[in-house]
């Protein structure tokens, strides 16, 4: 029962967050600086999602050669920069992770 309450509460919370601005009436104008700030949302949020996965090992900052996820991530960044291919970047990054894991 409590579990279903939790599910209901989480559903309302996440849907409310997604719908918050989308469902505002058209006549509500957002302040002029807001779109300029929101322009940076995707790059900022996405990088905040993946950077810790590369730079932290078991919660500790690691810039050593032994951090194969950092090396594979740098390789994937290069591939993404050069080819702009999503699936290709994922495959290349996973392959690089296994190669670096085997090397170091």
């Amino acid at each position: 029962m409590t579990l279903w309450l939790i599910i209901l509460g989480m559903s309302v919370a996440t849907f409310g967050q997604r719908a918050s601005f989308l469902l505002l009436p058209e006549r509500v104008r957002l302040p002029a600086w807001l779109p300029r700030a929101l322009h940076y949302v995707p790059a900022a949020v996405l990088t905040a999602l993946w950077a810790p996965e590369l730079l932290l090992q078991k919660g500790v900052l690691s810039l050593a050669l032994g951090n194969e996820r950092l090396l594979a991530g740098i390789f994937a960044i290069a591939i993404a920069w050069r080819y702009r291919a999503i699936f290709g970047t994922i495959v290349a990054g996973l392959a690089a992770l296994h190669v670096f894991d085997w090397m170091f």
Partner: protein
Amino acid sequence: MAAVGIPPLEAMAMSVLVYAGAAMLAAVQLIAEGSPALIVVLAAFIVNLRLFMYSASIRAYFAGVSLGRRLVVSYALVDNPYALFIQRYGTRPDEPGKFDYFFGLAIPVWLCWQATVAAGLLIGNQLPADWKLDFAAPLAFIALTIPLLRDRPMVAAAVSAGTTAVLAHGLPLRLGLALGAVVGITVGFLWGKHLGTKSA
């Protein structure tokens, strides 16, 4: 999820109704620790604060779209369709077909996500961990981020957001993620304003 006593039906219901991976991971962890319901819901809310930003960011593209369609977009507004949509329309906001494009992204992402959750519930931990498939998620986010870095303010936003998220990772409830996002957006905004570059 079975490991912490969440039955398959409830797990699947959560996946369909909540449809937010990070929030579910946080919830599962807190449920396992025996946290009160209110704390679990609050944690899910905080973990997903970025959804407010997505909603505000994407609003302008769906001006004049019917309420029903905006409800659909609201439900399906998760990281990947959002990022792919911005990649397509970010520099061309006036081109038509925005709802159809978003809907076309949302369906496969939704199906893949639900199928993966169902498979996870069925197969559990039998996939070998040494395939390192968990790394596919950050790789996908990298692939979505890099093409966005078209000018210096954008690069500054990404670098400062990533650095902050790494330094603040010790904060509870993944607040480091929210803090990183806020710092990145602020840095990019101020830098862009300083240069006087126009934002698309």
